[in-house]
């Protein structure tokens, strides 16, 4: 029997640490070679770590949400043969040597950042523990000071959970227990819950026949994984970049006519066109004249990198949150190719299969909430880029043209710029030229 220490390998260029997302093994578990051990997330991607050896898990280092340093022990295993470490592992006795406090220290700057002290006293051993110890016991202990979720496991038609004494008291008071939030384990309704219900006026709302019940309870969600990446990125963008927003109204009637025509006559192998490929074409055509807008600002170094290529980030909503895949070299794509490329990378992203190069290197970003409606947005720049374009909904509106009121398809185009390196005048001029291109769609295709 030997001890094998699995250390966090170098998971990508220049990565010094990775966030533990989810454990897939438990202490004591027999695992085989190549078995999925843990998911870690770097700036770039989530990586599945597999075991290089067969053995028994002795200890796991770190809980989901914690950062692990490259080269630090992640998993210790008992293996046949010599292993790669002395059996009396130093790592086993000193807890989590590899873990960094999150968020730059602050109030949680201790060695085990993710575990507030009161938790450990209540922590219960439980077979239910999902990877990372999110077992029932722990959750209950955390949420005990607040109202426990009251209706979590009660499905319609099932009885509310309460002791006979509580049930009898409720019956005598004329309270229907299905409206009383329970604070006990499994949502059990205690005497105190009935008191709270009465003092909060719940009784009268029932008496009045109102079907509305006030909800109690606070759910604690650990901001980890992709959500933390998003949070950090947004914070970074807003902290570093003095944004300014600019909104213009664009008459999309002609472009919409063209788009409808192209869609109606497209070949079977051609994708359906949305507005996006035309906007991308416009940007690709216009940006060479505004190199300060198609740029990435390395503000630490004080250098703006202006790009000849136009790599357009496409803000994409996925089940897990916002991800920005990139259409590379949009200047070299016609509208059909651009449409196909957008749909390809969006699908990859939603399926969680986007490669690292699909998700990095954009020089400008488009964020479209058009389909949802909305008059104006003030989009957050995808740092270290310096500009972001946000088309809003196209609506039919009465417009004065040549002294006549006519119905036109009108769209607002919102945008934000990094005022440090983009002057307001230039940005406004850029948007005005983009407006001209979109209002006269033929010019989109004339360079």
């Amino acid at each position: 029997m030997g001890r094998y220490v699995f250390k966090l390998p170098d998971v990508g260029e220049g990565t010094a640490e990775a966030e533990i997302v989810a454990w897939h093994v438990k202490v004591g578990e027999q695992i085989s070679e190549d078995q999925h051990l843990v998911d870690v997330m770097t700036d770039k991607a989530t990586v599945e770590m597999t075991s290089p050896v067969t053995g028994t898990v002795v200890s796991l280092h770190g809980t989901p949400g914690e950062m692990a340093i490259v080269g630090a022990p992640l998993v210790e295993l008992d293996v046949e043969g010599a292993g790669n470490a002395p059996t009396a592992s130093a790592a086993a006795s000193s807890p989590h040597p590899s873990l960094l406090p999150q968020g730059g220290g602050g109030s949680e700057g201790a060695a085990k950042p993710a575990t507030p002290p009161e938790k450990s006293t209540n922590k219960q051993e439980s077979s239910l523990s999902t990877p990372g110890g999110e077992g029932w016991g722990e959750v209950a202990a955390v949420s005990r000071p607040m109202q426990a979720p009251a209706f979590t496991t009660r499905t319609p038609g099932t009885k509310p959970l309460a002791s006979p004494a509580v049930r009898r008291r409720a019956e005598e008071l004329g309270i229907q227990l299905q409206f009383v939030p329970g604070s006990g384990p499994a949502g059990r309704i205690e005497h105190g819950d009935v008191d709270n219900y009465i003092s909060s006026g719940g009784q009268t709302s029932v008496a009045r026949g109102g079907g509305y019940v006030q909800r109690e309870g606070v759910e604690e969600i650990k901001v980890i994984g992709l959500r933390r990446k998003i949070a950090e990125k947004m914070q970074e963008a807003k902290r570093r970049i003095p944004h300014f927003a600019y909104v213009e109204e664009i008459d999309m009637t002609e472009l919409e006519d063209l788009r409808a025509h192209l869609n109606a006559t497209r070949k079977s192998d051609q994708p359906k066109l949305t507005l996006l490929p035309f906007l991308m074409r416009g940007l690709a055509q216009l940006l060479p004249a505004y190199p300060q807008i198609n740029a990435r600002f390395d503000d630490d170094a004080g250098v703006v990198h202006r790009y000849a290529a136009v790599h357009i980030g496409i803000a994409t909503q996925t089940a897990n949150g916002l991800i920005v895949p990139v259409v590379r070299h949009a200047e070299a794509l016609d509208v059909w190719q651009a449409a196909a490329e957008v749909s390809r990378i969006a699908q990859l992203t939603r399926d969680g299969k986007a490669a690292r190069e699909d998700l990095s290197g954009s020089t400008i970003t488009i964020t479209s909430l058009g389909a949802l409606g909305g008059v104006v947005t003030t989009p957050v720049i995808n740092h270290p880029e310096v500009a972001i374009i946000g088309p809003n909904a196209i609506v039919q509106r009465p417009v004065v043209r040549d002294g006549q009121i006519v119905v036109r398809k009108v769209m607002n185009l919102s945008s934000s710029f990094d005022h440090r390196v983009v002057d307001g005048y230039d940005a406004a001029e850029f948007i005005q030229k983009l407006k001209a291109l979109l209002e006269h769609p033929a010019t989109l295709f004339m360079e």
Binding site: Q124, E125, L128, W136, S163, R167, E171, G174, A186
Partner: protein
């Protein structure tokens, strides 16, 4: 000259449902009259739960002594086999019944309940005549029907002669040498096992393909094994066809599972194929109450469709259990007294005094109510429980089992099979009524050495960290 009585509450039937209702009504100061045609106590006390348990107890002692004859057990041996005096056994049992029946009478008297002995017959919902030892006409503001149930008779095998119900089985003057039991439900098996222990050759005929069809197979397996080990012949999937008179004795003709006809010689044929509510012969049809199949229809306050007529116990449906009737009787009188009550138990536990005993409370594997629920379950064997071993009860395959929701660990059902587990029924029911989660049971220190420790260990095992296995 019959007396005319006007009463606030009239209770019909002096069984567990009726006498509890009457006592509670008296306690609450209601003018109460109870009518009973037999002794007070009902089926449970006179010819059911209590006398059968007395008999089962004696049978167990007899068996223990019998086993000590010839082969020494636990260091005890008897030089002669024990002798059974059946009439004396019945007398002893009657003594217990009398004591309890008189106790009920005393409780009624103390609660100032007027008890009439006689058969009530209703002419309308609130009026009845009583005929018997006492004769009266009664008009009541509230009527609580607690008429109970009787053993179901097989039409081709009417009670009489060698064909007996559980009532007669408890008062036999001689031990039947050969006993055939029809119906392998809990009553048939409780009595069949007792008679086997007393020395009868017992054959059990069951129409379904397994014993105790109301319990899951896992739970009834130790009982099945006991029957097999002790030479009780089981005919599963077999139909009783009728009584056959052989040269000098009776026999029961059956059709076995594979269609063959067989005659089972029998001194007595005990028919335990179920019980039916007593709904005929006392004027129920004049009371204007709706029926629900064979039973009287009631709501969750035991109200019938007729105002101020209430019905409880076996009369209103499954489960036909004394403790359910008592709870309903208590509730109904409290409602009559103006309190707000509803019959909404989480669980009505049930026990079988078979060998070994069975308890079930709440949901069991296979219950429809479990559909769609992610359930976690574990069992703990009594073979690993010190108290069970110290009673020589570790080797019969007994266990405690818990079913709980996986998401919040709330306990949904608890079952046990093993010696003396009937005494665990109360704790099981309490856990369910209190809405216990596995951690509640796991966090309760259970006394060592007791059978209850097995319940604690089962909760631990369901949580994945049992200590003694």
């Amino acid at each position: 000259m019959t007396e005319h009585i006007t009463t606030k509450v009239l209770v019909i039937g002096g069984g567990p449902g009726g006498y509890v209702a009457a006592i509670r009504a008296g306690q609450l100061g209601l003018d109460t009259t109870l009518v009973e045609g037999d002794r007070l106590g009902g089926t449970c006390l006179i010819r059911g739960c209590i006398p059968s348990k007395a008999m089962i107890h004696v049978a167990g002692e007899f068996e223990t002594m019998h086993r000590a004859h010839g082969a020494a057990r636990h260091g005890i041996s008897l030089s002669a086999p024990p002798a059974l005096d059946m009439p004396e056994l019945v007398r002893w049992k009657e003594g217990i019944v009398n004591k309890l029946s008189n106790g009920v009478a005393a409780l009624c008297k103390r609660a100032k309940v007027r008890v009439l002995s006689g058969q009530a017959h209703f002419s309308d919902a609130k009026t009845c005549t009583v005929e018997g030892e006492d004769n009266a006409t009664i008009t009541a503001e509230h009527v609580i029907l607690a008429n109970g149930s009787v053993s179901t008779e097989l039409p081709f095998l009417p009670f009489g002669g060698p064909v007996i119900s559980s009532s007669e089985a408890l008062s036999l003057d001689a031990l039947p040498k050969k006993l055939v039991v029809i119906g392998a439900g809990y009553i048939g098996l409780e009595l069949g096992i007792a008679f086997r222990k007393l020395g009868s050759e017992v054959t059990v005929v069951e129409a379904l393909d397994r014993i105790m069809p109301l319990f899951d197979a896992e739970l009834s397996l130790p009982v099945k094994k006991w029957l097999e080990r002790n030479g009780v012949i089981l005919h599963l999937g077999a139909k009783a066809k009728g009584l056959v008179q052989e040269s000098n004795r009776h026999a029961l003709a059956i059709e076995t599972m594979d269609g063959k006809t067989e005659n089972l010689p029998a001194d007595k044929i005990l028919v335990t194929v179920g019980r039916k509510p007593c709904t005929a012969g006392w004027g129920l049809e004049h009371m204007g109450v709706d029926m629900d199949g064979r039973f009287v229809r009631v709501d969750d306050q035991c109200r019938t469709s007729m105002k101020n007529v209430w019905a409880i116990g076996d009369l209103v449906g499954e489960p036909l259990l004394a403790h359910k009737a008592m709870a309903q009787g208590e509730m109904v009188t409290e409602i009559i007294a103006g309190r707000k009550r509803r019959f909404d138990p989480v669980a009505i536990a049930a026990v079988c005094f078979t060998e070994p005993e069975i308890v079930t409370a709440g949901l069991a594997p296979g219950d429809k109510a479990l559909e769609g629920i992610d359930v976690m379950s574990a069992m703990f064997p009594f073979a690993a429980n010190g108290r069970a071993l110290s009673m020589g009860a570790g080797g019969e395959g007994g266990f405690v089992r818990i079913l709980a929701r996986r998401d919040d660990h709330r306990i949904l059902g608890i079952q046990a099979v093993g010696a003396h587990v009937s005494e665990l029924a109360g704790e099981f029911a309490l856990a369910l009524e209190m809405g216990a989660v596995l951690e509640d049971v796991a966090g309760t220190i259970h006394v060592h050495p007791t059978l209850g420790e097995a319940f604690h260990e089962t909760a631990l095992r369901t949580l994945g960290h049992a200590l003694h296995i």
